[in-house]
């Protein structure tokens, strides 16, 4: 513990334990349309985090009396693979999985035009395959891409990131080592960035009001970058789909 407390989370050059700057994200890659059997899907890597998200629906709700005659309902399932954590995760969803599923599903509901699909349900399955701090913001960011890939109309993408404190400094995108700092605060936040609407916000620790302000600004900037990557992934997928269709058409034309 004394050893831990002596760790320098941000050094004199302003660099963190893994060499990042205070406002620097871990490497982030996003790929849409990766699963054949899903209506929409997304594979996202974020530092060591690797997540795979699928979207099914909108489709009929069973049993029927659970459906809403005015809008679609969203079923979000956050699940960690048994081997995605240092210790083995029990495959049965625990209380943490259930809470994360709830808040992530609620964060997406605001963005989806649910009223277009009354009596149906949209199912999001978010599978964490490898993890190292920040898996909930990773799956939420990926889910938003998977929904768009599924062609489900949305007001805006939902984009998420974690900010927080380690060693007295407000930093972006904490890794596990930083999350374990003695004074660590972790704050996952998700926005629809166009109108700066906060759709997910959680925090635990001891934050001053000034730190909250600072953390929010840091997050807001990073979210713009992340959103760009989301959009880029969707463009690539759209391009590829078009090309595939074109190729198919060409082949068809040649054959005929």
């Amino acid at each position: 513990m004394t050893k831990e407390e002596k760790k320098v989370y941000v050094n004199k050059k302003g660099l963190r334990l893994d060499g990042r700057k205070i406002d620097e994200l871990r490497p982030l890659t996003i790929k849409a349309g990766v699963l054949k059997n899903a209506k929409g899907s997304c594979y996202l890597t974020w530092g060591q985090n690797k997540v795979l998200v699928s979207v099914q629906g909108p489709r009929e709700v069973l049993p029927k009396h659970h459906s809403d005659p005015l809008k679609a309902i969203v079923k979000f399932n956050y699940r960690m693979a048994a081997f995605s954590v240092p210790d083995r995760k029990n495959p049965k969803p625990g209380r943490r999985d259930i809470e994360i599923s709830k808040v992530c599903g609620e964060a997406l509901e605001k963005a989806i035009m649910l009223e277009k699909f009354p009596n149906t349900q949209i199912e999001v399955w978010a599978q964490v395959l490898d993890s190292n701090a920040g898996s909930r913001v990773a799956v939420l960011t990926a889910a938003s891409v998977a929904l768009a890939d599924a062609g489900i109309p949305m007001k805006d993408l939902v984009t998420a990131v974690a900010v927080g404190r380690a060693g007295g400094k407000i930093i972006l995108d904490l890794n596990k080592e930083e999350e374990d700092a003695p004074d660590a605060v972790d704050m996952p936040i998700a926005l629809m960035t166009s109108a700066k609407e906060i759709v997910l916000l959680q925090m635990d620790g001891l934050f001053s009001k000034t730190e909250w302000d600072e953390a929010y600004e840091l997050a807001a900037k990073a979210l713009e970058q992340i959103k760009e990557k989301q959009v880029q992934a969707l463009k690539e997928q759209f391009l590829q789909e078009s090309m595939e269709t074109e190729t198919k058409e060409k082949i068809k034309a040649e054959v005929q």
């Binding site: 209380r95 943490r96 259930i98 809470e99 599923s101 709830k102 808040v103 609620e106 509901e109 605001k110 704050m187 629809m192 700066k196 609407e197 906060i198 759709v199 997910l200 916000l201 959680q202 925090m203 635990d204 620790g205 001891l206 934050f207 001053s208 009001k209 909250w212 929010y216």
Partner: protein, 260 residues
């Protein structure tokens, strides 16, 4: 939870009233309902409390049981919070395993205590690496009229604050003997707001909860920390909402903390 259709109909008026600057029960936007806290009410519990918040009533009890520490914190005990939304409290609560709602509630109360370092887990150590106390905090809603978050969080803090620490001999609890009291290091108070239209109202009652698009909770401590945020439900909030919620929460918490 089943649906309360009547309430849904009534709730349509909540926003209309707010636009006329009136809460349905006459309160100001940043005003709590009448709060009362009763402590030490059950003999089998090491600590207990009943909190009423208007017509919302919640009971919390604490049991301190000896158990093994986690390998990575051999000199620390821990806590475990459970909440039950039993049919006593509402004709719309059902018996059965914990619902998603009660799991979120339990976890918010649990983290609120744990991460604000309200309890010094080292004080729960009996023998380093061998035996520690696990503080089970069990919360029962007995009458539900909105804002179970604040009622439950306050009840948990009140029950823990005066909990007696059992005397231990040969790794076992000695019946009816105690070695002292568990004093809290900090008393974080959770303050929950409903976002209804563009309004943010403190301590929503059931009618207001039926009308709200988003729920937002802030915990604050006596040493000027914000110790928790939890945003829930499909609606969104703005940065300004959080800012104003923090200010309101600090003021309200000061009053509640006096009652503990």
């Amino acid at each position: 939870m089943q649906k309360n259709v009547l309430l849904e109909l009534k709730s349509e008026k909540v926003l209309t009233n707010l636009k006329d600057s009136v809460r349905t029960d006459g309160r100001k936007l940043d005003e709590y309902r009448k709060i009362s806290i009763e402590k030490g009410i059950y003999q089998n519990a090491e600590g207990s409390a009943k909190v009423t918040l208007g017509d919302t009533e919640v009971i919390a009890g604490v049991k301190l049981l000896p158990g093994k520490p986690y390998p990575d914190s051999p000199n620390e005990g821990t806590i475990s919070v459970g909440t039950e939304l039993i049919p006593l409290a509402s004709p719309f609560f059902e018996s059965g395993p914990p619902s998603t709602d009660s799991i979120e509630l339990s976890r918010v109360v649990d983290r609120g205590i744990r991460e604000s370092k309200a309890v010094d887990f080292k004080k729960l150590c009996i023998t380093e690496g061998e035996l520690v106390f696990i503080g089970f905090v069990d919360i029962y809603a007995i009458n539900f009229d909105g804002n179970l978050f604040d009622a439950s969080a306050i009840a948990a803090i009140a029950a823990l604050d005066q909990a007696k620490i059992p005397k231990i001999e040969d790794e076992k609890t000695v019946k009816d003997e105690f070695s002292g009291k568990l004093k809290l290091e900090r008393k974080p108070i959770l303050s929950t707001f409903a976002k209804i239209g563009n309004f943010l109202v403190l301590d929503p009652d059931l009618l207001e909860e039926t009308a709200m698009q988003a729920r937002f909770s802030v915990a604050t401590t006596e040493d000027n920390f914000v110790s928790a945020f939890q945003k829930g439900l499909p609606g969104s909030i703005k940065k300004e909402d959080v800012d104003s919620a923090i200010d309101t929460a600090f003021k309200a918490a000061k009053e509640i903390r006096k009652m503990l």
